[in-house]
């Protein structure tokens, strides 16, 4: 790999649209860099090398290009609650700049480990469609990105959306680019919708939650300041963490109503940042994000034990009320077993009304379909890829039909 100094937007366009079949690699998630390579394209959602996604393993003759030059806050209009930013900006840098005006981009708010001090770039976060712990209140990136400029394979830029919060002018192409793992082009600039930072924001814990779905429903019904609820089964313990955000009186009332307590000093998960690191599973060998019907967190756990037996993941983290969970295998998993394990989890998730997608796997594991897309949706996905990146400069979307 040949490191390349930071580049400008024009240089980037020239590189990508140049006559050689150069391919661009926005390195996503928690890595800072964007890579241009000659063959195969990658988005890494973890420390380099730990999260090989399709294309990465096989790539050769790679030319790396830092996108850190594209990290400007182009415009922040606090009175409009919108900002236009370049995608190489770090999440922490973004949140700091917004916080100076009492605002934040709520998908990775400042209390989240995803943002503070983390090298994650906005572009990587969007390409991987990472959501924050407060998904219950704020949803996902698709609710908070209102426009995008995409660098296409021919070196031209295509814009969609605008820096206004309401807009139905033309197709909402921005949505297509979020979570596309860079397969359709490079997200260069986005318009973000923002929200005021709540006066108080805190993370508390409920011990011994034996009926988490019921506990959660009770708390949700009475605690209006609840912005997130995270059930963590980890190293033999099960704990329910609550994120509360709002005016001081509401947060204090809900802390009391929920029966939660503030953290013990020394609790290894005693901060939203630590909690988010657990969720992100940076220490796992295999990590799957699964969706199940939101009211199924308890059933998910018993189904995992029942159907995976000894192979059940050591860690299960659920964002209650949203249906989203992460399964993490912290012990090494044989690469040859990964594909079968993924298939079994996927069929279990489908039985519970949802899906499973691979977020991290050993380098050598051969996984048929990272996304698990099927049928006509898989066919449409391939057709979209062909239409928007006809020269295949960007990585393929990992959608081989998973057969069932």
């Amino acid at each position: 790999m040949t490191p390349h100094p930071p580049i400008t937007r024009g240089e980037l366009a020239a590189l990508v649209g140049g006559s050689s079949p150069t391919t661009l690699t926005p390195v996503g998630g928690r890595s800072r860099r964007c890579t241009v390579q000659h063959q195969g394209v990658t988005i890494r959602c973890g420390a380099p090398g730990t999260t090989p996604l399709p294309g990465e393993g096989s790539a050769t003759g790679r030319l790396e290009v830092e996108l850190s030059g594209l990290d400007r806050m182009v415009e922040h209009r606090p009175e409009e609650l919108v900002a236009t930013v370049e995608c190489g900006i770090s999440l922490s840098g973004l949140q700091r700049a917004l916080a100076a005006h009492g605002q934040c981009w709520p998908i990775a708010p400042p209390c989240s480990g995803l943002a503070e001090g983390s090298p994650s770039t906005l572009g990587g976060t969007l390409a991987a469609n990472v959501c924050g712990l407060e998904r219950l209140r704020f949803g996902t990136a698709r609710d908070w990105v209102i426009g995008a400029t995409l660098l296409r394979g021919d070196g031209s830029f295509a814009r969609a959306g605008a820096p206004v919060v309401k807009n139905v002018s033309g197709y909402d192409l921005t949505k297509l680019y979020l979570g596309a793992w860079g397969s359709l082009g490079v997200l260069v600039e986005v318009h973000l919708k923002l929200t005021p930072i709540p006066p108080v924001r805190t993370c508390v814990v409920v011990d011994r939650s034996t009926t988490p779905d019921m506990d959660f429903n009770r708390i949700r019904a009475t605690a209006a300041s609840l912005s997130g609820a995270c059930l963590v089964d980890h190293e033999g313990t099960s704990r329910l963490y609550l994120l509360l955000a709002g005016v001081e009186t509401a947060v204090a009332r809900d802390l009391e109503r929920s029966g939660a307590r503030t953290f013990d000093p020394g609790d290894p998960l005693g901060s939203p940042g630590a909690l988010d690191a657990i969720r992100a599973g940076t220490d796992t060998h295999l990590s799957l994000r699964i969706g199940t019907d939101p009211a199924q967190a308890t059933r998910l756990r018993s189904a995992l034990d029942h159907q995976l037996g000894r192979e059940t993941p050591e860690r299960v983290v659920s964002l209650l009320g949203t249906g989203i969970s992460w399964l993490g295998w912290t012990r090494p998993v044989e690469p040859s077993q990964c594909s079968g394990l993924v298939q079994r989890v996927r069929s279990l998730a489908r039985d519970l009304g949802g899906f499973a997608t691979v977020e991290r796997a050993p380098m050598e594991a051969e996984i048929l379909s990272w996304w698990g897309t099927r049928g006509h949706a898989a066919r449409l996905t391939r057709a979209i890829k062909l239409a928007l990146d006809p020269e295949n400069r960007f990585p393929p979307p990992p959608v081989d039909d998973d057969g069932d």
């Binding site: 009492g102 998904r135 814009r159 002018s169 909402d172 949505k175 209006a224 009332r253 006509h376 979209i384």
Partner: protein
């Protein structure tokens, strides 16, 4: 004509006489939607009742090379349902069942012909509601809402349709049926649901929709702030947002709008005021009470001559009745009216309203403003007489100038009504060739032969042809 005859025979076999409209006098009902400036009578109207029937109708159209367009309840305001030349309309009004209200998972599954407001009524016993609330919610269909990515007053806090749609069933232009998204949202892969929402019926026909439901808010506080100058009202809006308060709804009605509402609806808006702001807060009483106090203070500090709080549900209902029926009330002031839908950054609303006034004066047209001011979504409403010589042309000119002005101020062509046929020629004002090329490529993935609602969204380079008025229309 032979072509039509064989297609009609096949459609009649499928749907029977009762669900296939072919008589001219019946087809006229379908010649336009709420955008009455352009019209086109379809060859026929099919009324399927199941996804299978929709798929079969589409297959037959494809077989005969006949273009088609989906239609909900025809309240669209950009001419999206206008039949393509030689095309047929597929009306979804008979697919109007709420299939499931899944209270534990806070979601619902509906057919496309379900009327928006009916879903919230059905969800109410579970303590839930469907948040997007277009002013037409008593009439418009969920399928139309998905196609137009509709908004409404409360989208300031809750977002527009796309933020509430989890999954779709879509009949593609080749008749195949595809399911997008999941009941959970956040499904892996390309966000197909996200691009189908707002695609104005050009990607296929939506036959089933899964949406999120939200809990009915614990408390609601509704204020009416009265101003002698529109500029002051707009300054108050910016100050509210700058203070870190995002109300559930923030609406503005100008002098002409107030007069129309009061003369026809008598809801208690103050005659003689230059503008009123309707502001609603929803949620936890501990959150909204201090916010209400702040808003009152901010409104007065920016020149409100009066700030009234709705004392009970009846007063609140009346205040909203005025806003939701304002377009209809304005429509009674003239033989016809034309509602525009531009967006500007909210801080530019005062300037936009001034410029709209100037355009109206120059072209000799009365223009009222009823807008979702909280998110900069302008609805200038042009009153006119279609029989007056040259008036329709001037209305078109005013519309183009106003939308051009919105873009010049840093806004967009449409906030919630879509591009349709109405604004397609203006798309190059907002988008470059590359931007439009990217959209066209996507369109051809879903509909390679462009048979599904052709002639919409994309510029043709030809000016639109004003309709010769068959009747005086206006939505009420």
């Amino acid at each position: 004509m032979r072509l039509a005859a064989t297609l009609f025979a096949a459609l009649r076999d499928l749907l029977g006489d009762e669900r296939l409209v072919t008589e001219f006098q019946d087809l006229i009902t379908y010649e336009c939607d709420g955008h009455t400036l352009e019209t086109a009578v379809p060859l026929a109207v099919a009324l399927p009742e199941t996804t299978g029937e929709v798929s079969e109708v589409v297959r037959l159209c494809r077989l005969h090379g006949v273009p088609f367009v989906a239609r909900g309840t025809g309240t669209g305001l950009s001419g999206g349902t206008l039949s393509p030349p030689g095309g047929i309309v597929i009306a979804l009004t008979r697919m109007n069942r709420i299939l499931e209200i899944d209270a534990p998972n806070r979601r619902a599954r509906v057919q496309p012909g379900v009327v928006n407001a009916h879903l919230s009524v059905a969800s109410q016993p579970y303590g839930l509601l469907y948040a997007p609330d277009p002013s037409s919610q008593g009439a418009c269909s969920m399928g139309g809402n998905v196609a137009e990515n509709s908004g409404g007053p409360h989208t300031l806090k809750y977002g527009v349709t796309t933020n509430h749609v989890l999954a779709l069933e879509l009949v593609l232009a080749d008749g195949n049926v595809v399911r997008t998204g999941s009941g959970i949202g956040d499904a892996p892969g390309y966000d197909l649901t996200g691009v189908v929402v707002g695609s104005e019926g050009t990607f296929g026909i939506v036959t089933e929709i899964t949406v999120k439901l939200l809990p009915i808010p614990a408390s609601v506080s509704t204020l009416l702030a009265v101003y002698d100058a529109v500029d002051d009202a707009c300054a108050a809006v910016s100050a509210v947002i700058a203070a870190g308060i995002v109300p559930a709804a923030l609406e503005l009605i100008d002098r002409l709008g107030i007069e129309a509402v009061e003369s026809h609806l008598k809801v208690g808006y103050p005659l003689g005021a230059d503008a009123v702001l309707l502001i609603e807060l929803e949620g936890d009483p501990l959150e909204i009470e201090p916010a209400r106090v702040d808003i009152e203070r901010i409104c007065r500090a920016h020149g409100a001559r009066d700030v009234r709080l709705a004392a009970d549900e009846e007063q609140r209902r009346l205040l909203w009745k005025g806003r939701k029926q304002a377009l209809g009330a304005l429509g009674k002031l003239a033989p016809a009216y034309y509602t525009l839908d531009g967006v500007v950054p909210r801080a530019r609303v005062p300037e936009a309203i001034r410029r709209i006034g100037a355009i109206g004066r120059r072209l000799g047209l009365r223009i009222a403003n009823v807008c979702h001011v909280g998110d900069g979504n302008m609805h200038p409403l042009i009153l006119f007489d279609p029989q007056a010589p040259g008036e329709i042309e001037r209305v078109h000119q005013a519309g183009e100038e106003i939308l051009g002005m919105c873009i010049a101020l840093g806004g967009a062509l449409s906030g919630e009504h879509g591009i349709g046929i109405e604004k397609r020629e203006l798309m190059p004002l907002l988008f470059s060739d590359e931007d439009l090329d990217q959209m066209r490529r996507l369109r051809r993935v879903f509909d390679p032969e462009e048979q599904c609602n052709p002639g919409k969204i994309f510029p043709t380079g030809r000016p639109s042809e004003p309709a010769l008025p068959r009747q005086v229309r206006g939505w009420v």
